[in-house]
Structure formats: C-alpha cells, structure tokens
Point group: C2
C-alpha cells in the first residue's frame, strides 16, 4: 500500500531526528547521575518530574496529543532513572551476579522427597521427573523444605498451581521463606474420581474425603449432592487410604484413579473434575541454582517501593527487552498489613546477556529481590 509506505518513510525520518535528540538528552542525564552520585542525592525527584510534565503540557500545540505527549515524557524519565540507577547500585549488581554465577550441575540418581503417599498426584509428578531416583514421602509442604534444608534429600516436589483453581498459596509463601531454588517443573494431568468401598453406590455416601483442591475442582459434580458432607484432608491419596482402612460404606474419597486402585477401592464415578483440561503444575526445588542451555524460564520474588507506578516500571524491563512475563502473583508480605511481594515468572536463560541485564535491573530497583530459579518450561505442551 503506497500511502502507508509513504507515511512510514516520514516516520523513519522523524525517528532519526528523535534518536539524535534522545541521545543528546541521555548524555545530560548521565551527567546529572554523576553529580547526584558525587553528592549522595537519590535518583528520584518527584517535584522535578512534575515540573517537567507541566512544562511539557504547556508546550503541546495540538491538544489531541496532550495525553500522548505526557506519556512519552513519563516513560523517558523512567528510562533515564533506570539508567542512573544501574550506575548507582554496583553492590546489588555484584551480589546478584555472584548468585547467577553459582550455578551447579543437575544431580545424578537424586534422593527426592514428595508430599503425600503413593498414588498421590505429587507421586506422579515424581515419576515424570525422574525414573532413576530414590524417594521418600512426608506429610506436609513445610516438611519438604525442612528435608531439603537438613540435607535429607537433593530435591523436593511441590504443587504450585492448578489450571482451574489457581495458585497454591502455601507453597508460594514457603518458597519465600526458605532459601531454595526451582530447578524444574512437571505438568500432571489431573482426573478426579469418586472412589468408595467395594459394595458402595453413590446413594450410600454420606461423607466425602479429599484435599480441598479436590472439592473445588469437582464443584459442579458435587453441587448435585448437597446432603453429602465434605471432609477436607491433607492429600487426595491419603483420603483414599483412610477410606480403605475404615471400610465404611458411607465414606468415599475424591482422588486419582491410580490412588483409588492402589488402595483397593471401587470407582463410583470417573472424571468428575469441572474442566476436562485439568492440570497441576509441580515444581522441583533444590538447595542450589541450576541452569543449562535447555532452560527457558526464570522465576523471581521481589518487593517494590511504595511509589505510584513502581510495578509498571518493573514490568517495563520485560517488555523493553522482549522477555515475556508468564505469570505474576501477589501475596501479603506478612510484615505489615496489606503490603505485598510479587512472584514473577518470565522467559529467559541466565547465560543470555539480555536476561542477566533484566535481572540486574530488577535487583537494583527492588527493596527485596531474590532469583529463585531458571528451568525448562513444561507448559508449552498444552498451549
């Protein structure tokens, strides 16, 4: 299209001028950074930024473009600030570089800990993760981290997110509490089934035992049986085990087919989950940072200053460097009411210069920052 091409040529000419002037501005900005550094003055000066905006507003001739012009000035100031910051926080950058360089190799024949009992979905994740490992099980999520910390295992397996019910908050909070790294992830397809004792029919059931996630994922099915009492349990497979041991016709469990069969129960109804596309994402955690050239996903935890737009400026690093943000979760810090930390997954690899630069920038601008892993994404397979 000729008209479009001509307009684009004009934009190119304008951009050449724009870049020249921008570069000139960045040189002065660097000077400002040096003066501030030498005099111990912080980067952000809200009053000065407001003055720049107000001056800019008065200079716009066609008011149609007023909002756009102010947006442009604001992003240029954010870019300048980020440039000054990265010259001003050598210590933080050195510390994060040291961590990025501490990568170790994957363990051979590892000792792995999972939560639950045989037949649990965590156990399926374990089998997917490694066919050549020794394993033990523990009762709850915290025990997995304790086992890692005490050197009782090399890796732990934990569910972090279900595709239909969302984040598993306890695991996010424990990841922040313990100094461990994510070294891999496994996606397990979840089919929830209702299992009872051998002669049981749906009419006999008065109580159903399962993990609360088992109930949420099967809420449509369960809504037809309002009289049945739902009894939360630590783990779906443990619920199956208990129902099998109690051998009472009025008790049933929601669990995987594998778990129900393992404990000799009868399947009353298969596939009772609301969505047929139901997956749980498990993370593999270890004591050390691992990263090889197959890894394409990075996870970080950060707390940001309480300044308007600070999350926006953080996300700018991903957008401006072509890294895709895959997930963001906010969780209370637990230190002060309604203060949050962010858990962010994005595409990248620690051997790649752009990824490293983005991680350094995030570390500079955060109050608290932790790189918690670089690993291979498993979600692609279902997209």
């Amino acid at each position: 299209m000729k008209e479009l091409q001509e307009l684009r040529n004009r934009i190119d000419e304008i951009d050449s001028k724009l870049i020249e002037i921008f570069e000139e501005r960045m040189k002065v900005v660097s000077e400002v950074g040096r003066v501030k550094r030498e005099n111990g003055i912080g980067t952000l000066n809200e009053k000065r930024e407001e003055a720049v905006i107000e001056r800019g507003r008065s200079l716009v001739k066609d008011k149609t473009y007023e909002e756009s012009t102010i947006s442009m000035l604001k992003s240029i100031m954010a870019i300048s600030r980020s440039h000054q910051n990265s010259s001003n926080c050598r210590d933080k950058i050195d510390a994060i570089d040291k961590i990025m360089d501490s990568v170790v190799e994957k363990k051979d024949k590892p000792r792995v800990v999972y939560q639950g009992v045989e037949g649990a979905f965590s156990f399926e994740a374990l089998k997917q993760f490694s066919s050549d490992c020794s394993y033990t099980n523990v009762d709850n999520f915290r025990d997995v981290f304790e086992a890692l910390e005490n050197g009782e295992c090399d890796y732990g397996i934990l569910p972090i997110e279900n595709s239909s019910t969302g984040a598993i908050n306890d695991v996010y909070d424990l990841m922040r509490e313990y100094k461990t790294y994510i070294v891999g992830e496994e996606l397990v397809r979840i089919e929830q089934c209702l299992f009872g004792v051998q002669r049981a029919k749906i009419e006999d059931i008065k109580e159903i035992y399962s993990h609360p996630q088992g109930f949420s994922q099967s809420s449509n099915f369960l809504s037809q049986y309002g009289d049945i009492r739902l009894m939360p349990y630590n783990n779906t497979a443990m619920a199956a085990k208990m129902v099998s041991e109690e051998n009472n016709i009025s008790k049933a469990a929601i669990c995987s087919k594998a778990a129900g069969e393992l404990y000799g129960l009868k399947c009353i109804k298969e596939g009772i989950n609301n969505l047929t596309d139901n997956y749980t994402r498990f993370i593999i955690v270890g004591k050390n940072l691992e990263c090889d050239n197959e890894c394409n996903k990075v996870s970080v935890i950060l707390t940001l200053p309480h300044v308007s737009g600070s999350l926006y400026e953080t996300l700018a690093h991903f957008a401006n460097n072509g890294l895709n943000m895959l997930k963001i979760e906010s969780r209370p810090t637990g230190d002060k009411a309604f203060e949050y930390f962010f858990y962010i997954d994005f595409t990248g690899n620690l051997d790649d210069g752009v990824t490293r630069k983005v991680i350094e920038d995030l570390a500079c601008e955060s109050i608290d920052f932790r790189l918690i892993g670089c690993y291979k994404q498993s979600c692609d397979m279902i997209k």
Copy 2:
C-alpha cells in the same frame, strides 16, 4: 546546586525540541491510523515494529545508550498504538460510557445478607457498614450472590482479603461469575481466640474446629500442639456454635471473642493470630453501580490478549495518568488451562475525566472487560 540547575536547563531545552518532533510524529501516526481504519487493517504490526527497532539500533552512536534508545522507541510505539486504538473502538467506549452513566443512589434502610451466623466476622462487617438495616444470613458465599440476583436483598457482605493470608479466591471467582458491583468496603480487625466448653483446658483438646483461614492465621500458635487434629469448618462462628452444642471437653473452636461469648464458651487463649495487625477486608456488593463524590477507588476485571507486554501496556495507563494501582490479582479463567484474568483495584472516581479516560482505554485494549465498582477506600486508616 548550580551544576545540577544548569544541566536541568539543558534538559528543558532538549525537551522542547523533543516535544515538537514527537507531536510531528503523532500527526503522521494519526494518518496511519486513518489509512488502517479505512482499509480494515489492525493496529499492531509486529514486523514493522521490529524494523523500527532495528533501524533505531543502527542509528545510536554511543552504544552506552543502546538499551535506553530501544526502550524509548518501544514506549513511543505503544503510545502510538494506544492512540490509534482509541479512535478504532468507538463501540466498546460507548458501551462502557453507558455503564459509567448508570450510577444509582445508595439504598436507605437496606436489606443485607451475610454469610455465617451471628458473631461471625462478616456480621461485624455488617454492623460497621450500617446501623440501620435489616439482615439475614446464608450458609456460603454463592448464596450471597444468589440472594442478590433473586432480589431477596439489596446488599451482600463478603470477605475478599486478609492482611496476612491474602486473597479469598472463591470470592474473586464469584465476582467474575455474577453481574454485581462493589459499592463499599469495610476493614474488620481480626483477633482469633481458642474457645472450649466451660471446664476445658488446653490439655483436654483433641480437635479444633474453624474456618481454614482461622488455622492459617494462627499457624504459629498451633504448631506447638502437633497432636491436636484441625477440623475445617465453613465459618469460625459456626464452629463455635457446634462446639457449644456438642458440649464435649475434647473439642474447641478458633473464632472471634464475640462468637465464643455469644455461644457461652470459655476462652482458653486470646489473640492467637500470628500477626497482631490482622485485618480482613470485606466488600459490600449490590445489583447496581453506585458512586458519589466520596468514592476514591475503582475495581475492574479484565482479560488481555496473549501478546508479549500486554499487561505492561495496561498498567501504563495508570502510571501515565497518575492513578495508583492498589492491587492486582491473577486468577485462572476456567475456560482454558493456564489462561488468566486480572482483577485490578486503582485510585479514581467515575466523575473524574482522567479516571473515565483510563477506563475507556482499558475497555478498548482488553478482550473482556468489566467495571465492577467505584467506592470509598477503607484501607487508609491502618497505613
């Protein structure tokens, strides 16, 4: 400081040129938008944007500024796209304007529904919300929305977030499912207490009943009593009622002081929550949008296109317009595995032109968008 002032004067001069060139560029961008509109061509052209970036990269003279220059070009293209979009989605803007104009007045002597029983924290939120209302209670969160939908009440009261344990996901999901609006919020200070029957001591207790949130908020206290079984219950006050009715020395409940006393129980231990600053935020939901000049907080729910940086560009609207994002939650859409919708709270009022413009822009750029309320923020009091 003279040196700093001189540098700033130079930046001002440069900005005058920058704004002139930027305005020139925006005029051409508007032309491009018109041509695209007339020919049914979409706004985003990734190939063209990449070409602009590569051309820009080759024009930077001092490589120190390469990353900053690319960031600048990317944000200018995002600003241009947003400008073109807002001329291209008149229908969406008209629809959202109609909703913003549908504001009704607050109900006098309203009929209010809360979840739980008397003594529940929801009941305290209700008393804080209105001293001049009639009220009834229901068993679960969904029943509150059903009562609203069926016209059985004017307002419903629901917990949405606890300051130490985070979002109450079920309520977020129900807010998306039902076409209701948030018309207010109440902050209730939560003190969890352990209550038993009259002669009970801590040594007698074998089972503790409470809402799972009661357990998480008191996890430090409970970790000292590993042998006591935790029995999840729909509501803390209902747990107290049940313990009172069963009158068994081995059973206790975690609930508020008010609930324990209401059901004639004995307080075994007060204030067992981990954080003394423990609050739950309740929302008041109604069938209609309400907004008066005291309101300073807006809530929206949106789904974004699967394009790198789309969340970043959405947040740009808040940052560029001086509106502060107060909260962001991501939840699975339930339609397809690992697809999310975002729930965002930000500062604003529907009578304010800037807020309206931001809401229109969000509506334009989202796949799905819903304005779910404008109300007075209650969180200020504890900051």
